[in-house]
Each structure stands twice: as structure tokens, then as C-alpha cells.
């Protein structure tokens, strides 16, 4: 595939080159000897920021730690052990939850987290994750929350009864956690919130099974997984090199991906550009080229690719106007218009919490939202954890 050409130099420094090499999937990796002079502080800082610590650990371990200072090796081994424990704990928590939900007759499909590590890398330890994402059918959402409450989970965000009812009606995910502060479970009844105008629903005919700790688990098919990875990363401005790696590894490992299905589904959802961008980044940064993908000429994809690649290379912070970046990843005018309109009027958690309206007046939250935004200025469109937050 070719998505425009550019004079962008991907290789910016030996430190970034090492991260790129660590991110490459097996079919494209060519292990090089480590440069003799590396700024390891920069390598580790950048690896931490870009979710690359597990893949960096793997790359250096596989090369026998040659040329790696003892302090760096010790730090990476310690992080690896922590990541391993965290991922295994979350995997066990996920499997226990799936059993509980199945006992209650609720079908739940995990995505991201452990299943993404297993499907993209075939290795639970290769990806850092800190929560569990579960998708249930919208009609099962309330029953699933009740089931989780019986299993000891509390809502992460304290809401009054009326706020909670409004929240469930207008949002598409509900974060829960045990009082002992285990993993946060994001219970979704849609993969992406309406705000993002990307109504990806799993193609149930393409659901695939992965094995986690010896237990078969159903998750999104690779075609949907790819759409989900690309849309999730677009929503979060592609701030992590590991997200590019996940796309490249998934494509490299699953040679049976039906690219026609990817194209058709992405096109129907207006998400073709997001997929093009993910694949263009995998190609430009990691050399993972998909010959069977029918890439369209799209100057915006080339511009976004260079912007993201340059930011990852330089370690620059993402733009503050995150919504503007997201808009540019959407090819259809109607999705861009809807996204802006919905961002302006759909009440957020912050809105629900600011004004606790009685049930009869819940609709007023929609009317209040634009004023709250105006009150906060355009900066209000920025993500933050308690609000519209594109959380990772």
C-alpha cells in the first residue's frame, strides 16, 4: 500500500531507533547491534510514555542484554515482573467475571487488555494494561451491573440514584471497581460512545476465540479488532508507539484477515481514514506493509501519519485541541458535524455531577451542556479524566 510520500525522517535518534526496532513484528524485525552511545534515560522515559516498556524488555532480553547497563537491565526486569503480575491479576479477574456473568446468563465480550495482548502479540506480558473492558448487549447492561455489584464491584464514580439513572441512559460505559482497588472494569454496552460517531458493534459471525490461562474466551474477530485499535488510537491522538505496534503485530500474526471485510465495515462506519492511518503508521514506522489492503489516495492520511510519526519520534506532547485531531481522522462531513454537535450537547459525567436534576428535568442537562462549555471556554473540549476524557 502507498499513502502519499513524504520527506519525513522517521529515524530521529538512536534512542527512538531502538524503540522502533523493539516495536517491529517478527516478519519485519532485523536485530541490529545496540549503538555504543545511547542515552538510556531518554530510552526509558520514552518507552514509559509510549507504552513500550514490555516490548523494549523483550527486545533486549532476546539479544542477551548485550551492551545494556546493569541499572537499566535491573529496572526493566523489575518493570517486567510488575507488568507480568498486573496483567495476570487482571486476566484472572477478567476470567472470574466472565464466569459470574455467564452464570447470570449474560454474554460478555472482552476487548483491549488481556485479549488484545493475546491476539496481537500472542503474549500476555507484551502489552501494558491497567483495566478490563467488557462489552455486553445494551439490553443486558443493567443486569450486568447488578451481577457485578453482587460480585463486590462498586461504581467508580459516586452518583446519586437520579444521576446514575441518567448516566446509564445517556452514556455507554460504566466504570466499576472492587473496594480493595483491584482492576477497574469498564463495562460497555457500546464499544465507542455516541460522541465519537463510530458505532462499531461486533460482527458476531466473526467472533474469535483466544485462550487465556488455558481458558477459551470469545473476543472480537481480527477485522473488528483492527477497527477498534485504530479508532481507539485516533480518539487518543496516537500518543503511544505501542498502539502502532499492536496494529502491526495483529496484521503480521493473523494472515487470514479478510481485508475486504475490513474495508467494507470501515467504509460503512465512516472509519476508513482511521484504518488507513493505522496501517500507514505501521508501514512508515515499522515496515509492516499490507499488500492486500486497497489503500485510497488520501492526502489527509499522509499528513496525519507524518504528524503522528514526527510527534512519536520527537517525544512531543500531543496537541491540546484533541477534538480537532479527531475531526481530521474522519472522512465524512456528517460524522465531523455530528461529533462536534454531540461534544457540544451530550452531558458528561462532570455535567451530571454539577447539577443533580430530578428525573423529570433530566433533559435539561442537554440544554445546560453548551453553557457549561461556554463557561469553561473552548478549553472545555479538552479531555480530562472526570469528563469527556479519552482515557487510555
Amino acid at each position: 500500500m502507498t499513502v502519499g510520500s513524504s520527506a519525513l525522517r522517521v529515524s530521529g535518534s538512536p534512542e527512538f531507533d531502538l524503540l522502533l526496532e523493539s516495536a517491529r513484528p517478527p516478519s519485519t524485525v532485523r536485530l541490529q547491534a545496540l549503538p555504543t552511545q545511547l542515552d538510556w534515560s531518554r530510552v526509558l522515559e520514552r518507552a514509559l510514555e509510549q507504552g513500550m516498556v514490555p516490548l523494549l524488555h523483550r527486545r533486549l532480553r532476546d539479544a542477551g542484554w548485550e551492551g545494556v547497563p546493569a541499572e537499566v537491565r535491573a529496572w526493566l526486569l523489575e518493570r517486567h515482573e510488575e507488568n507480568r503480575r498486573r496483567n495476570r491479576l487482571l486476566t484472572i479477574e477478567l476470567l472470574a467475571l466472565l464466569d459470574r456473568l455467564a452464570e447470570a446468563g449474560i454474554e460478555a465480550i472482552p476487548f483491549k487488555g488481556p485479549v488484545a495482548a493475546a491476539t496481537c502479540y500472542g503474549d500476555l506480558d507484551a502489552r501494558p494494561f491497567g483495566d478490563i473492558d467488557l462489552l455486553v448487549r445494551p439490553a443486558d447492561a443493567r443486569a450486568a451491573i447488578r451481577c457485578m455489584a453482587r460480585a463486590g464491584y462498586d461504581p467508580l464514580i459516586p452518583l446519586s440514584a437520579t444521576q446514575r439513572a441518567a448516566f446509564l441512559r445517556h452514556r455507554t460505559e460504566y466504570p466499576l471497581q472492587r473496594p480493595a482497588r483491584g482492576g477497574i472494569v469498564d463495562l460497555h454496552w457500546e464499544i465507542f460512545h455516541h460522541q465519537f460517531c463510530f458505532p462499531l458493534a461486533p460482527d458476531r459471525a466473526r467472533i474469535r476465540t483466544v485462550t487465556l490461562a488455558g481458558q477459551p474466551v470469545q473476543t472480537l474477530g481480527s477485522e473488528d479488532q483492527l477497527l477498534m485499535l485504530c479508532a481507539h488510537a485516533a480518539k487518543h491522538l496516537w500518543v503511544r508507539l505501542e498502539w502502532v505496534a499492536a496494529v502491526a503485530w495483529l496484521v503480521d500474526r493473523d494472515r487470514d484477515i479478510d481485508w475486504e471485510v475490513v474495508g467494507t465495515r470501515a467504509g460503512a462506519l465512516g472509519g476508513r481514514r482511521m484504518v488507513e492511518l493505522g496501517l500507514a503508521l505501521a508501514d512508515r514506522l515499522l515496515g509492516m506493509r499490507v499488500e492486500r489492503w486497497d489503500a485510497r489516495e488520501d492526502r489527509m492520511v499522509a499528513a496525519l501519519r507524518d504528524e503522528v510519526a514526527g510527534r512519536l519520534r520527537d517525544g512531543s506532547p500531543p496537541p491540546e485541541d484533541w477534538w480537532r485531531f479527531y475531526l481530521r481522522t474522519r472522512e465524512r462531513r456528517r460524522d465531523r458535524a455530528r461529533f462536534l454537535a454531540r461534544t457540544a450537547v451530550i452531558p458528561t459525567i462532570g455535567d451530571w455531577r454539577m447539577v443533580d436534576l430530578p428525573p423529570a428535568l433530566r433533559g435539561l442537562h442537554y440544554a445546560l451542556r453548551p453553557f457549561r462549555l461556554l463557561g469553561r471556554g473552548i478549553q472545555a473540549l479538552r479531555p480530562d479524566l472526570e469528563d469527556d476524557a479519552p482515557r487510555s
Partner: protein
Amino acid sequence: MPAPDSRYAVRSREVAAKVFEDEVVVVHLGSCTYYSTSGSGADAWTWIEEGRPLAEVAATLAERYGIGLERARADVDRFAERLLEEGLVDLAVDAAASLPPPAPSSNGRDYAPPELHAYRDMADLLALDPPLPELDRPAWRTAAGDDGRE
């Protein structure tokens, strides 16, 4: 000390366990404590979880690792007491199910007494990014330049 015919039942509403390669990971979901055991400990956990009497667990361990029965008994009792103290198991009260004997293979591993490692920092681990190592003036930087590059 538990009686030889004692059996334990995992507290399955609060405790979940899985095998990852040669490690058994046990999580107390109520306290978010992570337990890890491998080698003879992974074997012992598996057989205890299956509901086998402690005497049978010890005898199988002795056979599998080629150690004396008394030593195996003492080690299994200590391990089982630890599981009980940590709230991972209860004494079983139902009748024992008839189970086929476990395969007598140690995969060539040397014997070490079963150990249960507890990690009680998991909530912090889930919440925090790790601090970077102290690399202010690392030894590998050249004398000529302080930025580590040519």
C-alpha cells in the same frame, strides 16, 4: 497440624486461581492480594484445589520428586496451613470425590518445599506509573559529551 485425611476447598467466591506456564497464580479478589507459587507448590495447589486429602498430596509429591514421605507431609502441612491463614481455602466438609491419581512426573525438576509468595501492593501497582531509575550521571556516558550521543 491438619489431620492426614483433611481436605480443603478453595473459597471460590473470593478466590480465583489460574495456571500460567509453570506458575500458579492465586488472587484473593476481596483484598486484591496476588499469590504466586511454582514447582512443588504449583503441584500441591492443583491437588489441594481438586479436593485431594493432604495425605494423598504428600504421597504424590514424595513420589513425584523422590523425597521421603515424612518430609513431604511436613512441607504439605505447612503449605496448607499458610493457605488457610491467608483465607484462600476452608476445610472441606463434603464427601471426597473419587479422582484418578495425578501423573507421577516432576519434569526433571529438583525438589524445593512448596512456597507461597504474597504480593500485597497490587492496588498501588494498578494505580501508579513506576519511577524511572536514577540515571542522572550514568557511568556509560562518555567523558567528552554528557548527552550520550556522538
